[in-house]
Amino acid sequence: MGRKGFHPAFFTLCLGAFFLLLAGRGDDSEMVGRKPPPLWKTLKYPPLPAFDIPHPRRIPLSNGMLLLLLEDHEFPTVDIEVRIRTGSIYEPADKVGLAGITATVMRTGGTKSISGDELDEDLESIAASLEVGIGQESGFASLSVMKENLGEGLKYLSDVLRNPAFPEDKIALAKIQAKSSISRRNDSPSGIAFREFAKLIYGKNHPLARHTEYQTIDSITRDDLIAFHRRYFKPNAMILGAWGDFDTDDLVKKIEEAFAGWEPGDVNFPPIPPIVAPSGPAVYHVEKEDVNQSNLRMGNLGFRMDDPDYFPLSVWYEILSGGFAGRLFATVRAKKGLAYSVGAGMGASYLYPGILAASAGTKSESTLEAISSILEEFQKMLNGEFNEEDIRYAKESLLNSFIFNFDTTGEIIQRQLTYEYYGYPADFLERYREGIVKATKAEMLSAARRKVHPESFIFLTVGKSTDFDKPLESLGYGPPTMLDISIPQD
C-alpha cells in the first residue's frame, strides 16, 4: 500500500498513510442469518496485560537546563536529544537560511579545541553520531553513542553547543550546499506543491512560509552565525532528553560536569508577524511540463493543537482520512483508481496554526475529477453523512492503537520534550485520549464546520495543464493564477 518496490534509496518510501473508508458497508441482508459469521468476528480478546508505562525523571539543573531521563537497559546504547529554543522563523528576512547554516557549521566546523574533520574521525571511530539542526520553530542537537563512550560523547556535545568555531571554509561549504538545494527545488513536483501551498496559506513573506534564495544565502556572514549562536544557545533555553543504558544519578553528574561553567542568560525572540488567513476561494497553478501526474493541494489555514476543537476533529478526520480505511483512500484510490497517494491533514500544530489540506497525485487526465472527488468526500462529512458505526470505528482505531505511544522509551522521551518545549501539559496525551472517548457527533460536526471551509479553499495544482481533463476554470472560481516558480539567479 505504501506497497512498492525497487532501489535501496527508495526503500523508505513506503507511503506513510494519512489516508482514508467508505460509507454504505454492511452485509447483504439476504445472506445474514443463513451463513455462520466470518471467523474473525467470533474471536474474543483477553484484556491487554497490565503494563507500567515508564515515566522519565524530570530534573532541572541550576543553570536552567531541564533534563528528562529514562533508563532502558535492553541494549548498550544511549541516545540524547536536546531541544533548543530557536528557529528559522527568527532569522532576518534578508538572511533566510541563517539558522540552518548556523546549525550545519556548528557541527561541520568543529569547536575552538577540535576541528570539524577531527570530530568526524573521533565520532565515527566510536560509532557515535552527533548532529545539530534548526527547523522552523525549534533547534535540536542529538547524540547517539555506545554506553562506554557516553562521557566522551557528552564532552563533544557540550563543546559543539557552547564553543563552535565557525571556520570560513565550512561556512563556504554550507553555503554551496544550500545554494545547490535551491537549484534542485523544482525537480520534485510534490516539493513544489508543499512549498508553494505554504506561501499561499501564510503569505509568501511570512516566516512560516518564506524560503531561501541565492541572495539570502549570499548575504550570510560569519558574524551573523556568531551572533545567531550567541543569541539563542543558552542552557536555560534547552531541554535535554536521554534514554538508554545509563544510571540516572550517574548521568546527571556527567551532564553537570560536561556543561559546568555555562551561565544562563536572557533570550529575546523577535516578534513573529500575525498570521492572516488567506482569502479564498482561489485557484493557483504551477505549470510543469516534464510530469504526467498532477500534484494537488486544497485547504485552508489550520489551528493550534490546544484548541478545544482538536479532539472531536481528530475523530472526524479519522473517518475522512485515517489509515488505509478512511473515506478518501477508499473512494479516490480503491474505488476510482484515481490516485496512489491521497490524504488529508487537519492542520493542528503546537505553536502556530498549521495547514489544513488534502493532497493527492493523479494522472494529468483526471486532475479535475480527483479534485471534485475529494471535495465530495469533504462535503459529505460536513453534511453529517456519517453514523454511530463510523464514529465507533474511528474511536476504536485511535484508542486501540494507543499503546503504541508507549512501546519505546525513545518516543516517550521525545513526546515529553515536545510538550515541555511548547508548554503543553505533561498529561496532554491522556487528555487527548479522554477527548476522543467523549467526542460526540454533534461536537465533531460543529468543530469541522468551524475549521474546514471548502467554500473558501485555496486550490493548487502542479502539473501539465494541457493534458487536464477539464480546465481549472470549471471549479467555478475563474481563471487560475499562474505561479512563477523560476529561481531568481544571483
Partner: protein, 495 residues
C-alpha cells in the same frame, strides 16, 4: 598514539556487544508447520505489543516476460480481503468476477489482434459494465479496517526484486486475530477490484518513475547494468505490462508463488511462542503447501565493456555508477561491504572527503553494496549529486581516482576498524526495534538459508582485513565491469 587508543576502544565495544546478542539467538523459537511454512518467534520487550513480517520468497525477478510488475501488483491485491472479508455476498460476487474476467479477456484479445474499432469499443463497454457489477459486491478496504479498528499500526507491505514483505503491529491481546487474518489472506485471497488497483499502480509508477527525474534515471541505470538477469527490470513493471496484465495472470502467479513452502513468517514482541505455535497450527495450516518455485537460472554474463547511459532531462544532474559484484552468501561479500563503507559511508569516507569536503563539487555521495538485490549477484553502486553549476561528468574522474588509490595503495587498518566498529553498532541498533529485527531474521532465513547467520554477521565483519578490501577493489571495480548513468541537464524543450 591517538589511533592506538581508538583501536583499543573499538575492540572493547566488540567484546561487549558479543555478550548481548547471543542471548537473543538462544531465545528465537523456530518451527515448521505440516504444510512447510516456516515460523520464527521471539518473545521480547516490555510493552504488550508485537509485530510480524511475512516474507514471500518472490519478487520482480520471478516474473515472466510481458508480466513485469505482477509481484508488486499482487502485493496490492493481498489487501483486498477473502471470501469472508470484504464482500457483501461472495457467491454472487464470485460469479460477477468471473463474468467480468471473461469480458476482459475478450476485450484484450480484440485489442491485441487489432480488431475493428467498433468491436473493441463494444467489448470495452461490456467489460466496464461487468466490472461495475463485480465491484458493487465489494466492501472496500474491509481487511485494512479490521486491522486498524483493532489498534493495528504500521500496516504496509513492499516488493523488491526478490521478495514481497507484509507487516503491521498489533496490541498483544490481538494475537489470534492476527493469526486468522494473516493466514486467511494467503489461504483464501479474493482478488477483487483488480482492474481498479491496476490503475492505482499506474499512478504509483507515475509518482515514483515517470514524474521523478531520479526514478527515470534509476530505471535506465538498472536496465543498462543487467542485460540478461531480471534484476535489470523495473519492480514496478513496464507501463505496457501493468496496463494489460489480467486477473487470470495474477491468480496464476499467486498459485505458483504463494504456497506455504515459499513463505517465512517472523513474530517479534510480547508473545508466548507456544501460543503462537498453537495458533499457527490451527490457522496457518489452511494455506496449501504449493510448489517449490524454480529459482532464476539466467546468469548475467561477465561484463566486458563499459556501458554509459545519458538521460537528457530538465532536472539537475545526478550520477550513478555500478559494478557487478556477488550474491550475499558469497565469501567476498563482507569485504565488498567494507569497501563500500570505506568509499562512501559517513563523513570520513574517501569519496565524501574528496568530493564534498575538499573539492566542494558534490552535495552528497553514497555507496551501496547488494543492489538491486542480494539473492543473486548484484552491484556495488555509487550515487553522487553534483553541486550547483557542476555536471555529473565532472565528478566521475575524481571517483575513479579514489578507487584507483585503493586498488594501488590499499586501505588503512584504521579504516577497516572504523568500518567494523560502525557495522557492529548498527547491527545492535538494528536489533533494537521489533520491526527491524523481524525483517533481519526473515532476510537471513531466506537469503542465507538460516536465521542463525544473522548472529554470525559480527564475526564475518570482524574477519575482513585491509588486504581483502584491496583485493576486491581490484577484482570487481574494473572499468570494463562498469555501468554509468547520469542526467545531463537541458533546457525545457531540449533534446
Amino acid at each position: 598514539m591517538k589511533n592506538f587508543w581508538k583501536v583499543a576502544i573499538s575492540f572493547f565495544i566488540v567484546v561487549l556487544i558479543g555478550a548481548s546478542y547471543t542471548e537473543y539467538e538462544s531465545r528465537v523459537v523456530e518451527f515448521t508447520l505440516s504444510n512447510g511454512l516456516k515460523m520464527l518467534v521471539l518473545d521480547r520487550g516490555e510493552a504488550p505489543v508485537f509485530t510480524f513480517r511475512t516474507y514471500a520468497d518472490v519478487g520482480g525477478v520471478d516474473e515472466a516476460m510481458g508480466e513485469t510488475g505482477l509481484a508488486h501488483l499482487f502485493e496490492h491485491m493481498a489487501f483486498k480481503g477473502t471470501s469472508t472479508i470484504g464482500t457483501r455476498n461472495y457467491r454472487e460476487e464470485k460469479k460477477a468476477i468471473r463474468a467480468m474476467e471473461e469480458a476482459y479477456q475478450a476485450y484484450r484479445d480484440a485489442v491485441q489482434r487489432k480488431a475493428d474499432p467498433d468491436t473493441v469499443q463494444h467489448l470495452q463497454e461490456e467489460f466496464l459494465k461487468l466490472r461495475a457489477k463485480a465491484d458493487s459486491y465489494a466492501v472496500t478496504n474491509e481487511f485494512d479496517r479490521i486491522i486498524e479498528e483493532n489498534g493495528g499500526v504500521s500496516l504496509n507491505a513492499f516488493t523488491t526484486s526478490e521478495s514481497t514483505q507484509y507487516f503491521y503491529a498489533l496490541p498483544s491481546n490481538r494475537l489470534e486475530l492476527w493469526a486468522v487474518l494473516e493466514s486467511e489472506r494467503f489461504a483464501d485471497p479474493v482478488l477483487r477490484e483488480f482492474y481498479r488497483e491496476r490503475d492505482v499502480v499506474l499512478e504509483e509508477r507515475r509518482l515514483r518513475t515517470e514524474s521523478s527525474p531520479f526514478g527515470r534515471l534509476a530505471e535506465e541505470f538498472d536496465a543498462a547494468a543487467f542485460k540478461a538477469h531480471p534484476y535489470g527490470r523495473p519492480v514496478i513493471g513496464h507501463r505496457a505490462d501493468i496496463s494489460t496484465v489480467s486477473l487470470t495472470q495474477a491468480q496464476a502467479f499467486f498459485k505458483k508463488y504463494y504456497g506455504a513452502k515459499n513463505l517465512v513468517i517472523v513474530v517479534v514482541g510480547d508473545v508466548d511462542p507456544d501460543e503462537v505455535k498453537r495458533l499457527a497450527e490451527k490457522y496457518f495450516t489452511r494455506i496449501p503447501p504449493g510448489e517449490d518455485p524454480p529459482p532464476v537460472v539466467t546468469q548475467e554474463p561477465p561484463q566486458n565493456a563499459e556501458r554509459r547511459v545519458i538521460l537528457f532531462d530538465v532536472a539537475q544532474p545526478q550520477l550513478f555508477i555500478g559494478y557487478h559484484t556477488v550474491e550475499f552468501v558469497h565469501p567476498d561479500r563482507p569485504a565488498i561491504q567494507a569497501l563500500a563503507s570505506i568509499l562512501g559511508s559517513g563523513r570520513t569516507s574517501r569519496l565524501y572527503q574528496r568530493l564534498v569536503k575538499q573539492e566542494k563539487i558534490a552535495t552528497g555521495v553514497s555507496v551501496f553494496s547488494g543492489t538491486p538485490g542480494n539473492k543473486y549477484p548484484g552491484l556495488l553502486e555509487i550515487s553522487a549529486t553534483p553541486v550547483k553549476g557542476k555536471t555529473a561528468e565532472a565528478l566521475e574522474p575524481l571517483i575513479y581516482l579514489e578507487i584507483q588509490k585503493i586498488q594501488d595503495e590499499g586501505v588503512t587498518p584504521e579504516e577497516v576498524k572504523r568500518f567494523q566498529t560502525r557495522a557492529k553498532a548498527s547491527f545492535i541498533r538494528g536489533l533494537s526495534s521489533n520491526f527491524g529485527l523481524s525483517g533481519q531474521l526473515a532476510f537471513f532465513e531466506v537469503i542465507t538459508g538460516s536465521w542463525h547467520n544473522l548472529f554470525r554477521e559480527p564475526e564475518k565483519i570482524m574477519q575482513v582485513t585491509p588486504a581483502d578490501v584491496q583485493r576486491v577493489a581490484r577484482q570487481y571495480l574494473k572499468e570494463s565491469n562498469r555501468t554509468v548513468a547520469f542526467i545531463r541537464t537541458v533546457p525545457k524543450g531540449g533534446k
